[in-house]
Symmetry: C2
Subunit: 547 residues, 2 copies
């Protein structure tokens, strides 16, 4: 027997309808690409998003069309999202930090028909567009006065394009399973893979994210998403913030310490979110200027592990609570957030930091488990680590076009590719990537933990650990070190520094000094390249005749 | 094109799975019907709910079966709910405060096959059961040692019944639209009507309720639902509290001031919820004893309008925040909650109370509008009142068996039967019931506002306003007053007291004094009976020959 409750599909434009109706006058503040800080409201943004939808429909765009955006966080970018979703088309965020060839590959794979682009990326698009035959038109997110000359055909300024619609339009109706958004993962190996979000998954994710024990978003907050909309949907803030109707501050293209500080201060931002690198720049700016953060309450930090020193500094020097988080593009992206359950809420000092260094626990809507190589589920004891697998209504079940099928199992579990342990209270900590973890004599060694320890040595600028083949143990760790300028630590000094901090059998078999460690376009250590560098290297612990 | 996100139906048992997995050791404290305060955990409760499900399936109960419960808020009642829902059956909460004939009518209409009942209601069930032929068995929520002698056939103690299952069981799988729960409205007119909740509506409602700007529920809270599970699902707390994993305190049968205080104090309750009557008893107890509420932060008050003095007393004398709320059985039940948006967050004193006397605003997932008699939508100006209509995924689209179809329109709007105005910031205030509002010369007069003003007179014990027919104006107000013992206010004195507080044309045409005003079984003023009392009465403003 079915219940007798209303059919009310979870559609993204209902988030914006709610914002406009219940919080219509609340401000959306943008540092525009043209320069000035500009202001609008939810009511105005919704009206313009309706115009965008109307114009899109008139131009023949609708259900299932992929429409790319390459833009910073601005009100125009957000209203383009809602306009696109409102006709049943799919916003496809492009990461401008990728190489042009990668972007072109992704656009061709997605079959993008239209592109909304920020002024600053127009030169990049001039290189890419000729390689993407499906692309029909480019809309530059500016007005006619600011539109530069370009050799590209079919280019129009957004404000002109929008002005041709009168806004007398209603959102289209469709199933809540309809695709709403798209984002490609920029894997360190293999081709990029497309994740296809649905209206339902976006709405449920927004609800999960706003909960008190997750991000805890309220209409009384002023929220600045520094994490870009092209980085896993700005962690869902483009949906969850309208849902709760908070004032929204969009930082545009300028993410340096001084620019972010200016907005944090003048707009009285209470909540913000970004990767650690951004906060390093801000903290450095604050130290140089002696400025403080009197309005900021909370900062969500994810994308890569947040250094302990950063959590400490935000708390001790600026009275700001760090919520350490973990997610993936395939998870919309939220997986876990480190808010404090009652078991941990009373901790202070180093003990509190110990908990905050984990990536936290999963909210309702994210199931997780860790398994060994034989798919056997491992205990939540805070020590035993294994492959992290997840399930939920905002987790991908496949990639666009069918790539990567091996990451999804029959019971719906998605293999994250991460290695983690979970403690008895459900707090998860990433210890490695599955492809990087070192398997020594049947046991696993976390390369990330070794790297974190090694960079604690005062003479070490950067460190990376890779596993090299070993005839007796299968694999053994090699520690690769970039020395700080003018410093000359020896291998023995570094090993002595590690001694006692890790189990004996975790100790690297060798320390290799290099002038530079290879990185990906997005700044991560490129272990594939590092492994290639040491392909013919033999560890000193190897007996000479073993190979 | 559909998105590629996981199929993960919103099923209620997933809430309990999450609680057991992420908050497994958190306590559920119950004042048992047998007497002592007993303790369990989410992990234990889930294990017992699985046993209940297993036993139900073995006994032939499953998809679509209606299974009644007549019980106070206890861990056993909650685990029965999850056991019932876990096999796809429907928990049907019965309100023991109704007359036995009403309960029997409801059980027959629902076709209940099984009944879980508290010890204290067994005598009531002995009267009802013979009138309900569909009822196969009665499970008394106690153990064999406490099971009293009864003339009823097929009675078993819950603990014995449960012990026959070993718990080696998995929840059943089904569509998220499957019916999960049922509750009949006890309308003041007409037959009771059954609302049929779905798994989807229950889960979405739990998410809506927990949001920071709604109830704001966190795992760090200790939550005591005083509002009974048979009163509109304990306002969803039976689902939302497991979802966020807070400690749960179940007050059982004793809702007097001293008993509630004892639990508030010993269990350090931070959040509670109930109707105003309950809090009157608690506040009286606190005044008599001089006790305080050092742990309590927030109390949600709904079911009927919360008096201004109560909001003030909780704040000024006990430092407790009142969240005034409104909902209906047909809405799962939450409609609006009066937390403060930034526009109002800075208010203090009387201005803050002015806002808190409204029932607040609708969270995402509740749409509302007010219309006039011609279905024309009225402005949100804080003055113009009309029929309040709502829409959303946790709002009914029909009643069980098809009654009351006139309350639902083609666009999905449900006519609440309430009359309300909404201010420009979305804050809604109920001004009347639609069937009570007085239509005078085409304009509406709120009987509730007049009543609230009249009881402010120091000599008035209770007041009710009804409309009487009037040849010129259509209807005009009659104010019916019960005088305080030993006081003798005149009609003119009372009218003089109202003068200047309402528009001239709102002034009652007459004041009638009565020894008593009729009430319903649940304590509301019974205006139908009052209108019957004055059926042949003619207002003095009526010209003698008009009729």
């Amino acid at each position: 027997m079915l219940g007798l409750m209303q059919e009310w599909p979870l559609l993204c434009h209902k988030l914006m309808d709610h914002a406009a109706r219940q919080h219509g006058g609340r401000e959306i503040v943008t540092r525009s690409l043209e320069g000035p800080v500009v202001r609008t409201t939810y009511a105005q943004l919704r009206a313009r998003a309706l115009k965008a939808a109307q114009r899109l429909e008139r131009d023949g765009f609708g259900l299932g069309d992929r429409i790319a955006t390459m833009a910073w966080n601005t009100a125009r970018h957000l209203e383009a999202w809602y306009g696109i979703m409102g006709v049943g088309a799919i916003y496809h965020t492009l990461n401008p930090r990728l190489f042009p060839e990668q972007i072109a590959w992704i656009m061709n794979h997605a079959g993008d028909r239209l592109l909304f682009v920020d002024l600053s990326f127009l030169p990049l698009v001039e290189k890419i567009a000729p390689q993407v035959p499906s692309l029909e038109k480019v809309v530059v997110l500016t007005d006619a006065a600011h539109l530069p000359a370009t050799a590209l055909p079919d280019v129009v300024a957004y404000e002109e394009w929008l002005a041709e619609a009168d806004g007398d339009f209603s959102w289209k109706s469709f199933d809540e399973g309809t695709a709403a958004g798209m984002c490609y993962t920029s894997g360190t190996t293999g081709e990029p893979k497309g994740v296809l979000y649905s209206h339902r998954s976006n709405v449920l994710h927004a609800m999960m994210a706003a909960m008190p024990d997750a991000m805890g978003l309220s209409s009384r907050d002023t929220i600045m998403p520094v994490v870009p909309m092209f980085h896993a949907n700005a962690w869902g803030l483009g949906q969850s913030v309208p849902m709760i109707g908070a004032k929204l501050v969009m930082p545009g293209a300028r993410l340096d310490g001084a620019s972010l500080y200016e907005l944090l201060d003048t707009e009285k931002v209470s909540f913000t979110a970004a990767v650690p690198t951004v906060w390093l720049m801000l903290l450095q700016y604050l130290e140089e200027t002696g400025k403080k953060l009197p309005y900021l309450n909370k900062v969500v930090i994810g994308g890569s592990a947040c250094p302990r020193a950063m959590i400490r500094k935000f708390r001790d020097e600026y009275d700001v609570e760090v919520v350490h988080a973990w997610g993936m593009t395939e998870m919309s992206p939220l997986g876990t957030l480190c808010t404090l359950k009652p078991e941990y809420a009373g901790l202070e000092g180093e003990e509190r930091l110990d908990v905050q260094q984990t990536q936290g626990f999963a909210p309702f809507g994210v199931e997780m488990k860790v398994t060994d190589d034989n798919e056997v589920e491992l205990p939540w004891d805070g020590r035993t680590f294994g492959r992290l697998k997840v399930r939920g209504p905002a987790v991908a079940r496949a990639y666009y076009g069918g790539a990567g099928a091996e990451q999804f199992d029959a019971e719906g579990w998605f293999d994250t590719g991460d290695v983690a342990h979970i403690d008895p209270n459900g707090y998860m900590r990433i210890t490695d990537r599955a492809k990087d973890v070192i398997k020594s004599g049947g046991e696993w060694i976390s390369t990330i933990e070794l790297e974190n320890l090694a960079v604690g040595h005062p003479d070490v600028a950067e460190a990376a650990v890779i596993g090299l083949p070993h005839s007796k143990w299968g694999e053994r760790p090699l520690l690769v070190v970039v020395r700080k300028p003018g410093r000359e630590p020896s291998a023995d000094e570094i090993l002595a520094f590690l001694d006692g901090k890790v189990a004996k059998w975790w100790m690297p078999d060798e320390v290799a000094f290099v002038p530079e460690i290879p990185h990906t376009a997005t700044g991560k250590i490129q272990k594939t390249a590092l492994r290639a560098m040491f392909r013919d290297h033999s560890l000193p612990t190897e007996s000479p005749g073993a190979q």
